[in-house]
Amino acid sequence: MPGKTKVLKKPTRTLADQSYLIEVVKGLGTTLKHFFQGTGQMVSGNVPNAVTDPLAEGISTLSYPEEKRAYSERWRGVHRLTHRDDGSPRCVACLCCSTACPAQCIYIKPGEYPEGDKRRGYERYPVEFVIDELRCIFCGFCVEACPCDAIRMDTGTHMTAFDVKSDFVYDKDKLMSMVSQHGTQKSENPRHEPGDPGHPGIDRLHGGH
């Protein structure tokens, strides 16, 4: 059984609409109202704060870059490599991120720690860590893939505009120099160095299994 058909009334134009003149005056009234509201705010200095009160009535211009709105914690900005306590990268060069990357913009050249280093055998370190920020699609898969919380996108900064393409290719030093929205270069997640009490003590040479 077909449903009930609701016939919508076609809007008709009255003579007043048709003459256009009244509507013009109405439109001018609206724009004048906004004009005086905006001018009043500018002259009296009562311009609403676009950072804290973006939905306020009246002028809502954000004077970027002097004024910025804070991004949410999960907003994905430019990458950074987190630091350990001794200032070396947390990255263990496992290549999980570069494997997960759909844009293939991460290049890592892994290296072994020298003989005698307590980390040797347990983990490797990135000799080179390069991200081509122009290729990056900011999907965040690298951050999800990382087992060590070594790469994060919580810097809260946009990609800066450079003149030369090669400037967009961030190397290890550049990535290590980035700080999070809260100014830290580390991660809040704990990390156990080889030899620490919480460290499982398993490595490639002396597997527990």
């Binding site: 003149l21 013009v24 439109g27 001018l28 609206t30 724009t31 004048l32 906004h34 004009f35 509201q37 905006g38 001018t39 500018m42 311009v47 009246g58 002028i59 809502s60 211009t61 004077s63």
Partner: protein, 382 residues
């Protein structure tokens, strides 16, 4: 001698003002549109003198624009007509500047009687008259007709620019400009016929005098006022009548191929037209330099049972007249800019329909009604 000095001075003041008005109106338009769109508007251009930073609420942007225009590459299309191409911006802006020659921007100044109370005998006394300066560059007998003739010449500039640019977009823009301006001139001229019938003159200063003695033209010719304002906005080729420019379909219309200062001449010509048309509307419909209830002798309020006569010295009346005229013009310019930022653009065929099928018949009807009413009133008197 006085005539030559005063005329030179008047020309310098008026043309000097109109030359600056484009820069000023550019700022006004930007700021006004910003305010009504809840924006701050341009404010970044800065003049740095030591540690002092002058931004002047965005006025510096006009200067920056001027500098930019001067240093732009003066590129010309290789095809087309080079002479006409260079001539077009001049032909476009000069009529707009010429128009203000006949506009009275204040009452006649009698130099010998600055502190005296106005006496109608001055206007007939030859000695006093010789020492008087009318605040109008040229007091022509043809008045309004001169305005129509010169305003009609404005279309040539746009048409020439469109033709000589060797560009199809420009040509389309030029064609549109020509047809639009010619169409609206008809309605513009006819809408004023009613006013001329009532004022019994085409001289602009006498029109103001009539309005000073009776009432403002907008009250006796309201229909003509609406028609004339509409046609005047159409003549300036600005939104909502900007099909000759047609950003979305014609790039920039008839001045697509113009760069730098030549383009600036077209743009500033537009602003000068806005300014002059406002002055014209003020003169014909809003009582010119007359402040409400102010006569040449001072404030005269004889209505509602009140009988106020407050006599002012002649120079005070002149000053009040000049300021009133400026304020009325400023208000009309403000309203024209507001219209530009309020209404969406008409389609080209809608513009033609509005011009020929609405404004023109309405103007003709206005002439008929005005004539009939005048006939009845006069026969009653006779």
């Amino acid at each position: 001698m006085l005539f030559w000095i005063s005329t030179t001075l008047k020309v310098l003041v008026v043309v000097g003002f109109l030359a600056q008005v484009a820069a000023l109106l550019l700022w006004v338009e930007r700021k006004q549109s910003a305010m009504m769109q809840s924006r701050i508007g341009p404010n970044r251009a800065t003049i740095k003198i030591g540690s002092l930073e002058i931004r002047a609420a965005g006025l510096v942007h006009s200067i920056a624009d001027g500098i930019k225009m001067v240093w732009k590459a003066d590129w010309e299309p290789t095809g087309g007509d080079h002479l006409l191409y260079r001539l077009a911006p001049i032909v476009a802006i000069v009529p707009a500047l010429c128009l203000c020659a006949v506009l009275p921007f204040g009452p006649t100044v009698f130099l010998d009687h600055g502190r005296d109370l106005y006496d109608p005998a001055w206007a007939t006394d030859a000695a006093t008259l010789a020492r008087s300066v009318p605040l109008q560059i040229a007091n022509l007998d043809v008045g309004v007709l001169f305005i129509f003739a010169i305003a009609g010449a404005g279309v040539i500039g746009a048409a020439l620019a469109g033709w000589s640019s060797d560009n199809k977009f420009s040509l389309m823009g030029g064609l549109r400009a020509a047809s639009q301006m010619v169409s609206y001139e008809v309605a513009m001229g006819l809408s004023l016929v009613g006013a001329m019938m009532i004022y019994q003159t085409v001289r602009l200063d006498e029109m103001v005098t009539w309005q000073t003695q009776h009432c403002w033209g907008i009250f006796v010719q309201p229909v003509a006022f609406v028609l004339f304002v509409t046609a005047a906005i159409a003549e300036t080729k600005r939104v909502p009548f900007d099909t000759p420019e047609g950003e979305s379909e014609l790039v920039a219309g008839y001045f697509t191929e113009y760069a730098g200062l030549k383009m600036a001449m077209f743009a500033s010509g537009e602003f000068v037209e806005v300014c002059v048309s406002s002055a014209l509307i003020t003169t014909i419909f809003l009582g010119g330099w007359q402040f409400p209830f102010v006569q040449l002798t001072g404030l005269e309020f004889h209505y509602l049972g009140l009988n106020i006569s407050w006599h002012w010295a002649h120079f005070v009346v002149v000053l009040v007249g000049f300021i009133t005229f400026s304020l009325k013009c400023a208000f009309l310019i403000f309203m024209q800019l507001q219209v530009r930022w309020t209404l969406p653009r008409f389609r080209y065929d809608q513009i033609m329909k509005l011009g020929w099928r609405m404004l023109l018949p309405a103007a003709l009807l206005n002439v008929l009604v005005t004539g009939t009413v005048l006939l009845f009133l006069n026969s009653g008197n006779g």
